[in-house]
Amino acid sequence: MLPTLNREQLMDLCRRMFRIRHFEEKLILLHTEGRFSGHYHVYIGQEATGVPALSCLGPDDYLFTTHRNHGHLLARGADPARLLAEILGRRDGYNKGKGGTFHTNVSALGFFHTSAVVAGIIPLAGGAAYAAKAKKSGQITVCLFGDGALEEGAAPESFNIASLWKLPVLYLCENNGKYGRGRAVGAVRSSTMAAYPLTDLPAAYKIPAQQVDGVDAGAVHGAVSEAVKKIRQGEGPQFIEAQTVRWPGSESNWPVVPVPTDVSLAWDSSAVPEAVKEWYRESDPVLTFVRELVEGKVATREEIGQVEEKVREEIARAVEFALASPYPELETALRDVFA
C-alpha cells in the first residue's frame, strides 16, 4: 500500500528509490569493468524499507549504518556523485577515499560512522541516543543493520542498556532473507538464530518489537512513523524487523544484474529472465511501489518514466564526476589519524 503522504512526497520517495536502484546497477557495472577493488554489498531489493523509513526522521536525527549503506545514504539525500567517488577511492569522495564502500558516512546528514563489522554500530547508536537524551535535544537515533547482526553479542548487550536507560533509539533490522534458506517452509530466516522470530531477542529485553513487510512502502512508513513518535515521547527504544526477499542479483558473493531495471518492467516482465521473474513480479519493492502509484492515480506511467529518466541522467553525471575525480595525493594516507 502507499504511505499516507501527499503526491509530492510520494513522488519524492519514488525518485529516491530509483536513485538507489540505478546507482547500484551502475555500480555493479563499474565493478565488472574493474573500476574499483574490494568486496561490496548492494541495497537493491530493500528500497521500500530505507526510503520510507528515513523519510520519517527529522533533519537533526542521528543514523548509523553498515557495509550495506549506499541505499541509506541516498535515501537520506546524499549526493550520488560524491558517494560514487568515495566507492571508487577518489579525492572527492565523502571520506576523501579513506572509507570506501564499507565506511561511507556523511556527518552533515547525521551519519557519524559506518561500520563494516557486523553489529559494530549497535553499541554506538545507543551512545548517540544517550547523548541526545542527556542534552534533552529531542533527537532520536536510528540504527540500521541486517538480521545477521543479532547473532553478535553487541546486539543483546546494547538492547539491555537501551531498554534499562530508555534510550531514544530505533533499531531497524532489515531481514533480507525472506524465503531464503527456509523457502520450503515459508520461513523468514536467513541466519542461524535460536531466537525466532527475530523479534524475540529485543522482546526479551522488553523492547517493543514488530515485524513489517519491507517490500510494502506504506507498511514501513506507518510502522516507522508510529515508532518514531513513541520514541520522541520518551517511551524508550523500539525495534522493527523489515522483511524483504533477497534480490537474486545478490545471491552470489559478487552481485550481478539479471536485467537492468526499467519502469516498463512493472507491467511487462517479458524481458526478465525466467529464473528471476518471480522476484521482479512479486518482490521488487521499486516496481511494486510504481504500480501502486499508478493504481492509486498518483501519477501516470509516463510521469513515472520521466522521473526515472531524470534519475538516469543524474547517475550518468555522477559516474562522469567520480571517474574524473583524481585519486588522493599519497601523503593524505598519513593524515586524519588524529583530530
Partner: protein, 326 residues
C-alpha cells in the same frame, strides 16, 4: 606546594572535570568508581551522589559500554568509560580498536570521538592470568588511540584533565599500586599536555625510561643506587601516543646507556618498540646494549613468589642498570 595522595589527586580531577564541563559523563560502577577494589574506593561515592545524572552504573557489558561512550562522544558528550581492570578491555576490543580508533580516519576527518577509556593495568598482587594485563603495546598497534600512563599524583590529575579535553579517543591506563603514592600537586587547574615526557629524576650515568608504576619502582632503585655512587636519570614518557621521543633520545645521548622498564610482555612490548627506535636513532651514541626489564613472556601465575619472579622487580631493574654500566 601541598602534597596529597595519588588517589586524592585523581578524585580531585574527576570532581573538577565534572564541575567544569557538563558534557562529561562517567560510565562507571559507582561503588568502585575509577579506584577498582582499592580501600579508597568508597571515596568516589560522594562524587556519584553529587552527579546522579552524569555518573551512571552500566551493566557488566564492556563491549556495549565502550561503544556507548564512543557513540555519545560522536554526538557531543565527553564520556569517560571505566573498564576497571585492563584485562576487561579485551571484552570491548572490537569497539576500542576497530570503531573508536578508526572513526576519525575512515570518515576522512568528519567524525570525532573524544571518549576516554579508563583501565587499571598491570601486576597488582594475586591478579593471576586474567586480571593482570598491560595492554598498552597492543593498543599502540591501533593507530588513532591516544595512550596515557600516569605515574605521579601531579600527572594523574593533569593528564586526566587533558584526556577529557582532547578530541581523540584516549585510553587512560592507571595502576592500582600507585594510589597511595604521595606527591606535590598544584591547586590550580593544571593540564599536562600529551606528548611531553617528564624527567622524574636527573642523573648522568644511565637513563631509565619507565612507565606508570614502573616509574615509582625505578625511582626507588635509583635512590638506592645513589648510595653506591651510581647516578640514574629516570625519564617518564607519560603518554605513548603521542610520544615525546626527542626527550627520551636526548637523555640517552647524554648518559649513553639506557634501561627500559615497562609492564608489558617482553616480546613486541612497549620496551621493544622504544629499544628499536633508540637503536635506529641513537645507535652510535650507545656505549652498551639497550636493556629491557618487562614482564616475562608467560601468563601471570597466581602464587605470589611466582608472580614476583616474572615481574619487572626492583631486583631485575637493579641488575639491568648494573649490566648497562658494565
Amino acid at each position: 606546594m601541598r602534597e596529597i595522595a595519588y588517589y586524592e589527586a585523581k578524585l580531585e580531577a574527576l570532581r573538577e572535570i565534572l564541575a567544569a564541563d557538563e558534557r562529561v559523563h562517567l560510565i562507571t560502577d559507582t561503588t568502585t568508581g575509577f579506584l577498582g577494589l582499592s580501600p579508597q574506593r568508597t571515596r568516589f561515592r560522594e562524587i556519584a551522589e553529587r552527579y546522579p545524572e552524569r555518573v551512571i552504573s552500566p551493566p557488566i557489558s564492556e563491549l556495549a559500554s565502550c561503544g556507548l561512550g564512543i557513540g555519545a562522544a560522536m554526538a557531543g558528550l565527553r564520556p569517560v568509560v571505566d573498564v576497571v581492570t585492563a584485562s576487561f578491555i579485551f571484552e570491548a576490543w572490537p569497539q576500542v580498536v576497530n570503531e573508536a580508533a578508526n572513526a576519525f580516519y575512515m570518515s576522512g576527518g568528519q567524525t570525532r570521538a573524544p571518549v576516554v577509556f579508563h583501565v587499571l593495568h598491570g601486576l597488582r598482587g594475586g591478579g593471576a592470568a586474567q586480571h593482570s594485563h598491560s595492554p598498552q603495546a597492543m593498543l599502540w598497534n591501533a593507530p588513532g588511540l591516544e595512550i596515557v600512563l600516569p605515574s605521579s599524583p601531579r600527572d594523574v590529575k593533569g593528564l586526566l584533565k587533558t584526556a577529557v579535553s582532547t578530541d581523540n579517543p584516549t585510553v587512560f591506563l592507571d595502576h592500582g599500586l600507585l594510589f597511595d603514592v604521595r606527591g606535590p600537586v598544584p591547586e590550580n587547574d593544571e593540564r599536562i599536555p600529551f606528548g611531553q615526557a617528564d624527567i622524574k629524576r636527573k642523573g648522568k650515568d644511565v637513563t631509565v625510561i619507565a612507565t606508570s608504576y614502573m616509574v615509582q619502582r625505578s625511582l626507588t632503585v635509583a635512590d638506592r643506587l645513589a648510595s653506591e655512587g651510581i647516578d640514574v636519570e629516570v625519564v617518564d614518557p607519560r603518554t605513548l601516543v603521542p610520544l615525546d621521543f626527542a626527550t627520551l633520545l636526548a637523555s640517552v645521548e647524554k648518559t649513553r646507556r639506557v634501561v627500559i622498564v615497562d609492564e608489558c610482555r617482553q616480546s613486541c612490548g612497549v620496551a621493544a618498540e622504544l629499544a628499536a627506535r633508540i637503536a635506529e636513532a641513537g645507535f652510535d651514541k650507545l656505549k652498551a646494549p639497550v636493556r629491557r626489564v618487562t614482564t616475562l613472556d608467560v601468563p601471570v601465575p597466581f602464587s605470589r613468589p611466582l608472580e614476583d619472579f616474572i615481574s619487572p622487580s626492583e631486583a631485575r631493574i637493579t641488575e639491568a642498570i648494573r649490566a648497562a654500566l658494565r
